[in-house]
Subunit: 156 residues, 2 copies
């Protein structure tokens, strides 16, 4: 078989299963796009020794909203203990700092240091490129529409 014919065959068989009814299932579509996107995002963030998770925490720490760890857990759909280790690592790298909550001393708010902000500024650029790679087949209007629909599904 020639190389070209092999390529054609691959292109033909690669997405053969798209015809299956599961391709109409939102859960599946979400899982698949998320899986592919994670690979791209993590590859882009590796340069900064960040992963999707730590990147998310860093953004929220840098938002000015002074989230507590509990809020981070709820918002990121993670177990509180996972937040502990994420914040532990970021704190070790001096990218974020823990501070006791003002009204509630049980809580600890997580805030980005200036070093964290600077790193985030760089990482955000890489993340933006990764995103446009993932959404390459969508034009700007469609990408915006997709985001809006996802937000509406999440928060109404």
């Amino acid at each position: 078989m020639t190389i070209e014919a092999q390529d054609e065959q691959q292109a033909a068989t690669k997405d053969r299963l798209v015809a299956a009814p599961i391709s109409q299932d939102v859960g599946f579509l979400l899982a698949k796009l998320h899986a592919g996107g994670s690979v791209v995002n993590n590859r882009a963030l590796a340069e900064f020794d960040l992963k999707e998770r730590s990147y998310s925490v860093l953004i929220l720490a840098n938002s000015g909203l002074e989230p507590t760890q509990r809020e981070l857990a709820d918002f990121l759909s993670l177990d509180p203990s996972q937040i502990v280790s994420l914040v532990d690592e970021l704190e070790k790298r001096k990218l974020v700092a823990r501070a006791p909550g003002r009204q509630d001393r049980r809580a600890k708010t997580v805030t980005a240091t200036s070093k964290g902000s600077q790193l985030l500024a760089q990482a955000a650029i890489a993340a933006r490129h990764a995103e446009s790679e993932v959404l390459a087949t969508l034009d700007d209007r469609e990408a915006a529409q997709l985001k809006a629909l996802l937000r509406k599904a999440l928060w109404g």
Copy 2:
């Protein structure tokens, strides 16, 4: 604090972090909606002793496309060894059957048994309900639009 005031407080603080810029990040939105959706889907499928994963395999096995395990792995973004254990379990339950590939005897095609088809028919109803629960804040047009955009992002 009264119960009502507590509820208000919760409603106010629950989604406080939506204001953070990460809410514009497609990767994050996908992760969050997928996380929430998985819980709902798995709860709906538990009644049939299925999870999202085995449900996906069962649908593809029932599609008439006679996918090989390799194709399942590629399409579901899973490691081939994960497909082995998923198919092992479904086969043990007589919901699918393995058959040697017609042109390639290395490959094994996975096909739903009639018992598998019947179970799937039931499970699909539950999955549909779960999906509409996840997309409750979207009207029909928006849900269709979301699916279309996800498909386009995946396959152009």
